[in-house]
């Protein structure tokens, strides 16, 4: 009974979609209400935010349920691949911070075509990352410098990525590992592009503490095990707001921006919920959730506030890399990196 009804609804939606590419929100909502709860594969931001996002979505659209499955970017991509390989459609929406994954998905033709209405409001900062009709950026995180305020005076803190190479930081630096952490991987690729591989050979001479990810970097800084580190500004801001001795610095040679992207899957079991949810992810309410949690919304109208009351437009951003270049550079970089920092 219900599958057939769903089919009919899908058919109607399909016809409606082709009649008018800008699907009407109310019609989407009506169609989505006849669908089962939707699964969302997500690997972008901290654990609480997917929960807050689906709660806000359910509040805006009563009767609709989205269940987030959040994993590390490698694990979630593998799970999606296994679903696709065995032709079991589980997730309808796929959100990840690794742009290169979408290149593969687009190439394999497993994404659904949909141009979200809300995409019109995306900031020019991020529009280069759009794959028209398929992949859209929903928000960004920033990779910046941080230091322990109990041990380092603001004036003495490093101001740029280059400052980290100064021998005075020998035994003081904490960083993450690109094979474990997506944020660190992007930072490594950008640094290598800006300063060459020598950057890490020099950094290695300062004997940095290499842990899994920015989370551990923050812990090492708070504990005083190390005094300066590389992490997302939001982590430093959140932790400092609680009273921990940590502060963020936006490096003068360019803060690294990490985009979260989202797409709908071609075999989405709940295509209408998926579209409505995509509109929501790119829309103002979700933008507000991102900003409240110290991430940056990708929308032009978002009031992104950075540490120290700065705006995104006030700081220098490192050049954004195309996902194709990123994908090409990363594998070799990770191997060299791990050879350098492991034995």
């Amino acid at each position: 009974m219900r599958p057939r009804l769903t089919l009919i609804v899908m058919a109607i939606a399909w016809i409606a979609w082709h009649a008018d590419a800008r699907a009407d929100t109310q019609a989407l909502y009506d169609a989505a209400r006849k669908e089962a709860p939707m699964t969302w594969y997500i690997s972008f931001y901290g654990a609480d935010i997917p929960a807050k996002t689906v709660a806000a979505f359910a509040a805006k659209y009563p009767g609709l349920t989205v269940n987030p499955i959040r994993m590390t970017s490698g694990a979630i991509f593998q799970r999606l691949n296994q679903d696709l390989r065995s032709h079991v459609a589980v997730a309808s929406v796929y959100t990840s911070s690794i742009g290169g994954q979408y290149d593969i998905l687009v190439h394999d033709g497993v994404l659904a075509e949909y141009t979200p209405e809300a995409a019109a409001a995306l900031s020019p900062n991020v529009t280069t990352a759009i794959v028209p009709g398929y992949v859209y950026p929903l928000g960004t995180g920033l990779m910046a410098l941080a230091y322990n305020t109990a041990k380092i005076k603001p004036a003495d803190a490093p101001k740029s990525w280059q400052d980290l190479l100064d021998p005075k930081w020998h035994g003081q630096i904490a960083i993450g590992d690109p094979s474990f952490s997506g944020f660190d991987a992007v930072w490594d690729v950008i640094m290598t592009k800006m300063y060459g591989w020598q950057y890490y050979e020099k950094l290695a001479k300062n004997n940095p503490l290499v842990q899994r990810s920015t989370f551990d970097t923050l812990t090492a800084l708070n504990a005083g095990e190390r005094t300066v580190g590389v992490m997302s500004d939001t982590q430093a801001v959140d932790s400092a707001a609680k009273g921990n001795p940590v502060a963020a610095v936006y490096p003068s040679d360019g803060t690294v921006m990490i985009l979260g992207m989202t797409a709908i899957l071609k075999d989405a079991p709940q295509p209408n919920t998926a579209r409505l949810f995509t509109e929501f992810l790119l829309g103002p309410e979700h933008g507000k959730i991102l900003v409240e949690n110290h991430y940056q919304s990708a929308r032009v109208d978002a009031t992104n506030e950075l540490a120290g009351g700065k705006r995104l437009s006030d700081i220098k951003l490192a050049p954004v890399m195309s996902s194709k270049d990123f994908v090409q550079a990363l594998p070799e970089l990770i191997e060299r990196w791990r050879d350098l920092f492991s034995h």
Binding site: D48, Q82, S86, I98, R212, L218, A223, G224, R338
Partner: protein, 564 residues
């Protein structure tokens, strides 16, 4: 007279059923893994290749990972025995005071996720800011403390200390079954207490000790949490770290599968070694003839043993939980102990805002209980059939029961998802896939401890029942089960706790309604909330203790924490 037809043998029927279940639980996922290891990467399954193997073993660093892991496994397994055996002996056979406390602390050690323990130990013994180093520097006036968790000894310690409970449970369960008769005989013949213990008691429990050694060895070479937290900063490449790298970007699942295959060979080698060592020696210690077990009077030495035991549990439980409590009740943990920093907010956040917490607690314990029951039943039945030589292909059955442990949880999970998520089973995201994964993953623990217990049981008693006309099931139900009650409870508890703290496979297999506490826990490690992480760690420990207490109430005094 017509020839009598062969009577229907329940053992054979049971064998077929067990073989089928093991095939489903072990062979199917491992076969999927093997298949993946020879697949051309890519979604469209474009054919077969050995290139994945060439890649998996084609770089110096990858091979060093195997070497490091092997040395680590041997060190950890030996370290565990050295710590656990004196404690187990003291608790099981002597008049050492405070036995209940030591048991309770061992239980707490066991329910502590190794991941959580390692995190705490980083805060305790990191070279610059570790509490112990600062304490040392404060007392002695030295510039630096002596401890460095980011080192090979540090790694052995932090993995070993949370594997000690395996060795402790194995050794104490076996020691409790050894009757005093043989020890008394040795005493009468003039052997001293120490000689008796070393020459009689310990050799009698060799099967349990070897089992414990193997389990802790395998645990050490496949553990991911502690490897990430300690080995990565120590810059020591290990098998699980290398595997995790294959799971990053670029995703190389095929190479990861190929890289795990030697671990399977290692399991087979372990099993062979076990057979060699135990070959043709008798380890029957339980004759059913009763025989009182008198606690050995240690005199003043009992305080020495108590001090040793308390030292071990202080390292495993008391110090790490002190660190966790400090963080869990702090607004900002780095500010240290002070009244203004004291808060219950972290717990409130978890309990009120995280609506998922309640569901994940229920999930964790239902799945763990189900896995413990299935794995325990399977292990006892298979172990019994093998030990009593009732079925053919015993070597194969044992290997099947031991094989899953060595495959790191994440890789095993890939095999599970490949085997169970597609049609016809369609178990993706269900409770069943998690229960089956936990069952398979911890079947080796259940099997090893069940086999050790059965091996110590004299078949004479069972033969007596058979001679008197009782069938196999009467033997099992009226003789074997009652005698091994305590061991069965221990097997169940081992799998239950191991499942409740399992991270790596749960992380990959969970679905919208089947989140477990360990998944939530891992989530928090990516959200920069050390305070909440610590609070959840305390909630996990507390709820597990509650469930263990309930278990104790149901199973009576024979649960791990038995009353004296």
């Amino acid at each position: 007279m017509p020839r009598r037809r062969r009577a229907w043998d329940p053992a054979r029927a049971l064998f077929l059923a067990l073989a089928a279940i093991l095939a489903l639980l072990v062979i199917l996922p491992l076969a999927e893994l093997l298949l993946i290891s020879v697949q051309v990467p890519g979604r469209n399954g474009a054919g077969f290749t050995l290139a994945n193997y060439a890649q998996a073993f084609g770089r110096q660093r990858y091979l060093v990972g195997f070497e490091n892991s092997f040395i680590l496994g041997v060190s950890v397994a030996t370290f565990c025995l050295l710590l656990a055996v004196p404690m187990a002996w003291a608790v099981a056979r002597t008049n050492m005071p405070g036995k209940q406390l030591v048991r309770l602390m061992m239980l707490l050690t066991f329910i502590t996720p190794p991941f959580l323990g390692a995190t705490s130990w980083v805060l305790l013994a990191s070279p610059n800011a570790g509490w112990l180093n600062r304490l040392y520097a404060w007392i002695t006036g030295a510039a630096h403390g002596p401890f460095d968790i980011y080192s090979f000894p540090g790694l052995v310690f932090v993995i070993g200390i949370y594997s000690v409970p395996y060795s402790f449970v194995f050794a104490s369960a076996a020691l409790e079954l050894v009757s005093s008769e043989m020890e008394e005989a040795a005493n009468i013949l003039g052997a001293g207490r120490i000689t008796t213990t070393l020459r009689i008691t310990l050799p009698l429990i060799t099967p349990a000790l070897i089992g414990a050694w193997i389990i802790t060895f395998l645990e050490a070479i496949s553990i991911i949490g502690s490897s990430i937290i300690v080995a990565l900063p120590a810059r020591i490449n290990l098998v699980p770290l290398q595997l995790w790298q294959f799971f990053g970007y670029p995703l190389q699942v095929e190479v990861a599968a190929a890289y795990s295959m030697p671990l399977l060979l290692l399991t087979v080698a372990m099993f062979w070694l076990q057979q060699r060592l135990l070959h043709r020696k008798g380890y029957v210690s339980l004759t059913g003839k009763g025989g009182a077990r008198q606690p050995i009077d240690l005199g003043a030495a009992r305080w020495l043993l108590l001090a040793f035991s308390l030292f071990v549990v202080t390292l495993a439980v008391i110090l790490p939980y002190l660190v966790l409590c400090e963080a869990a009740f702090s607004t900002a943990w780095a500010r240290g102990f002070s009244q203004s920093n004291l808060t219950l907010e972290n717990f409130r956040q978890l309990l009120i805002r995280q609506t998922l917490l309640k569901q994940s607690i229920i999930n964790t314990f239902t799945y763990s209980a189900a896995a413990a029951t299935i794995a325990g039943g399977l292990a006892l039945a298979t172990g019994y059939l093998i030990e009593r030589r009732l079925v053919p292909l015993r070597g194969l059955l044992s290997t099947l029961c031991l094989a899953p442990f060595v495959i790191p949880g994440l890789v095993l999970a890939i095999g599970f998802y490949a085997a169970y998520a597609p049609p016809p089973l369609l178990l993706g995201g269900t409770a069943a896939i998690l229960i089956l994964a936990f069952t398979t993953r911890f079947l080796p623990i259940a099997f090893t401890s069940a086999t050790a217990a059965i091996r110590g049981l004299n078949p004479e008693m069972e033969d007596a029942v058979r001679i008197l006309g009782g069938g196999r099931f009467v033997v099992l139900g009226r003789v074997v089960a009652p005698i091994l009650k305590r061991n069965i409870a221990a097997v169940w508890l081992l799998v239950f706790i191991a499942s409740s703290r399992e991270v790596s496979s749960a992380l990959f297999l969970y679905g919208p309604a089947t989140r477990t506490m360990s998944v939530m826990f891992f989530d928090l490690t990516e959200g920069a909330q050390f305070e909440q992480l610590a609070a959840l760690g305390l909630i996990m420990a507390a709820t597990t203790m509650i469930f263990v207490a309930i278990g104790q109430a149901i199973a009576g005094r024979d649960f791990l924490l038995r009353r004296e």
